[in-house]
């Protein structure tokens, strides 16, 4: 079983290939799954607004987009997503050291917090249907498009946590920074635990 890790780590080296993997299947499958899972999907737009309205967040409408993307479009989104997540991760690592250390460097914390907040907003467009593992190499589980409402809620939580942390960083209040950073980590984890596979990188 651990061989999967060997494979995963080797795959790490070929990061550049991310999103460039060939797939045996047309990308429409994900779109269909997503569409089938919602009862009254009379059309693309209504499906989007339905789910978005339920969660009270129009920002995550892209998660619901049920119309299949062209393959090259899908691969592009997946690459942007991958790079975005990597950048968020890098900033998180910088922040963890700052925040858990004695006295955080406010400038460093602010810069990273702003970058994460910015990327979190872009994340609304990172999960259109048809960007799952049957299209290309990705850690995004098919469950994302099977539980669009739950996923959207978690994504939204992450976005809120990222904004709140950004605000705390701007204020420079170390206690607030620590608290909001813990919330942010929790928001990342809540989604990753459920919707990210181990076969990513």
């Amino acid at each position: 079983m651990r061989l999967r890790f060997v494979a995963a780590s080797c795959a790490c080296v070929s990061l550049a290939a991310c999103g460039g993997w060939k797939s045996g299947q047309a990308n429409s499958a994900q779109g269909n799954i997503s569409q089938d899972s919602r009862p009254p999907a009379t059309g693309r737009a209504s499906a989007v607004t339905n789910a978005a309205a339920t969660n009270g967040m129009a920002t995550n409408a892209m998660v619901m987009l049920a119309v299949p993307l062209a393959k090259n479009q899908a691969l592009h989104v997946m690459q942007v997503r991958h790079e975005g997540m990597e950048t968020i991760g890098k900033n998180m690592k910088v922040l963890t050291r700052q925040v858990t250390g004695g006295s955080p460097d406010t400038g460093v914390v602010r810069a990273s917090a702003a970058q994460i907040a910015n990327l979190s907003r872009q994340a609304s467009g990172w999960f259109p249907a048809g960007t799952g593992p049957n299209v290309g190499k990705t850690g995004a589980k098919p469950d994302i498009w099977q539980n669009p409402q739950d996923f959207s809620a978690k994504l939204h939580n992450f976005q809120l946590a990222a904004q709140a942390f950004n605000a705390a960083a701007a204020s420079g209040d170390t206690n607030a920074i620590r608290a909001k950073f813990a919330d942010l980590g929790g928001a990342c984890k809540a989604c990753h635990d459920k919707y990210r596979s181990e076969m990513h990188h």
Partner: protein, 219 residues
């Protein structure tokens, strides 16, 4: 085979060490696969305490616990291979397995101490002493190194099965601490319980110091 003829071969600290270590290895594996990275880190720290304890007990413990009683040179190993070894405790060949397991676990714990998770949410207690790149590399090796530990555990279990097929039961003595002695051998000389407690206290102390972030308590 009556139980009165059974004599002490493993003391309680060695047995507790063995089974706690086995349980914590399983728990470490399980917890990290079920997204309980915090538990995984605590489990690793507990293993660190056990390893420190075992290292010390290997110098001041009971006769079969001491490295000096079981770590032997190539000649003794070759002699064992030819069937010329009589004794209790780890045989000269098995000793290599013990050293390899303890060493591999020490490497694994050390890597874990300076690692960080891939999302930058969890840091090993000493990760603050190294950079992000080093921490990431340590995590990658930590994941790969587990395969080495698995291989050594597999070898350990295969050896137990092999001895069992040849009529020597090894598992029960590791539970009860007692076994029938080969002719002309002495039973285990026990260590002192308060020395065991000191070893444990030192293990806990060093672990707590490391959890605090080591040298002057963090970077």
């Amino acid at each position: 085979m009556s139980s009165e003829k059974k004599q002490p071969v493993w003391d309680l600290p060695v047995r507790l060490f063995h089974w706690l270590l086995a349980a914590l290895i399983v728990f470490s594996w399980w917890s990290v696969h079920h997204h309980h990275t915090d538990w995984h880190i605590w489990s690793g720290c507990a293993i660190l305490t056990l390893l420190i304890f075992r290292l010390l007990w290997g110098f001041v413990g009971s006769s079969t616990a001491r490295f000096s009683s079981f770590v032997r040179g190539p000649r003794a190993i070759a002699g064992y291979w030819r069937g010329q070894w009589v004794g209790i405790g780890h045989n000269p060949l098995g000793a290599l397995s013990i050293l390899a397991l303890l060493g591999a676990l020490a490497v694994q714990v050390s890597l874990g101490l300076i690692a960080e998770d891939e999302d930058g949410i969890y840091l090993g207690p000493l990760a603050g002493l190294v950079g992000t790149d080093t921490s990431d590399k340590a995590r990658d090796i930590h994941e790969l190194w587990f395969n080495v530990i698995l291989a050594l555990i597999a070898l350990h279990l295969l050896a137990i099965i092999y001895y069992r097929l040849r009529g020597k039961k090894l598992t029960l003595p590791m539970i009860t601490g007692r076994a029938e002695l080969p002719p002309d051998t002495q039973p285990m000389r026990p260590g002192k319980w308060w020395i065991a407690l000191i070893c444990l206290a030192v293990g806990i102390g060093i672990t707590r110091w490391i959890i605090a972030g080591a040298p002057p308590f963090g970077s």
